[in-house]
Amino acid sequence: MTRSLRTVTALSLVARVVAAQSGGADPRLVARLDKPTYVAVNAIVDSARAAKLPTAPLVDKALEGAAKGSDGPKIVTAVQQLRVRMTSARAMLGSNSTADEIRAASTAIEAGVSGRDLARVKAATGKRAVTMPLAVLTDLIGRQIEATTATNLVIQLEKSGVKDPELALFQRNVRADIDRGADPTVAAQTRARGLLQRGATSGKPSE
């Protein structure tokens, strides 16, 4: 073995040791993705880690794609788009936002909530977590309520001090009304009005 070859071998070995030290690659990704997809997803996860974004949602998104039988390019695209949405979400919510808030906000962005509306909801919740309000908002939009209308309703409820369990009950009531044939927007506005009239913290809203 020539001296140069020995040198290259030694450097490769050291590089592998360094890679193993700093890796943090999720073994589930290795097991469930093909190699090119794994390499691409892992690169996105690494870049998110370097940007101090939560990485678990990205890994979950890749695992979800594998479970649903999506092909590699689709999985990589989904993970990359989620990373972009998470970056926007954190920018809107602030650098001290939690991983759950960023996850919920990126889901809301995917549903069509604008960055401006995201910031408005965050401002309305004050120091409370914005996770549940965003989950309810995303659900309302998913039930064909126009994004601005749904955002304004959630902001009204948050400003009046509605707590997370009451917000969850509001969402269930609206869904039940829609399932019974009500117009989604009217159902949401009516249930929100009832909640606001009863007083934000006085108890459960009317059924």
């Binding site: 040198t7 450097l11 050291v14 590089a15 040791v17 360094v18 030290q21 700093s22 589930r28 678990a56 949602p57 979950d60 998104k61 695992l63 979800e64 794609g65 594998a66 479970a67 649903k68 999506s70 689709k74 695209t77 989904a78 788009q81 989620l82 991983a99 759950d100 808030e101 996850r103 919920a104 889901t107 995917e110 549903a111 069509g112 996770t131 549940m132 989950a135 309810v136 995303t138 659900d139 939009i141 998913g142 039930r143 997370d164 369990p165 969850a168 969402q171 269930r172 869904r175």
Partner: protein
Amino acid sequence: MSDDDVKMSQIARVLRAPVRLSASFDARVMAAVRRLPGHERLKLWARLTTPRTVTLMPLPWGLLAASVALFAVLGALHFVVDIDRAAKPIASALFPAQAKPAPQRVQFVLVAPDAKKVAVVGDFNGWDASHAGYQAQHRGGGVWSVTAPVPVGHHRYSFVVDDSVWVADPTAPRVVDNDYGVPNSAIVVPQE
């Protein structure tokens, strides 16, 4: 002009006359200074600060520099890991509220009269439909349910019926999914 003024003018003329030194004067003065006994610390300082020419071979010295850099990175990583390991139990003991909250048990229910098998998959179990703890049981009348641990926080999930059909939970907030084309549900597990 007084006599004093005349004398002063003569002295000034002498002092203003240029002094011619030999070319080797500076060198002789500096040589004499160097011969004087110096302080030990000054000698060491002089040795460290005196410019000198060093010849380096690129390959061996480059490899040495790369090795030093790599070992520094490894050392820093070990330091961070060790500090992290040492700090976690201390932080948990001092600030119990900051410890990771225990998962909450959540009941998932799906009405699927024709199903042969129902499983829950989501962020909380790595989207693994074969996960033993998330297999729903048939309770009769087409009602399937499972109560399983879910970590505190926001999660997306779905039901998988007969290993092939993905069904969003009709009782939970819906999540738009433009990525894989199959809608999911959302759950926010509060900390108790």
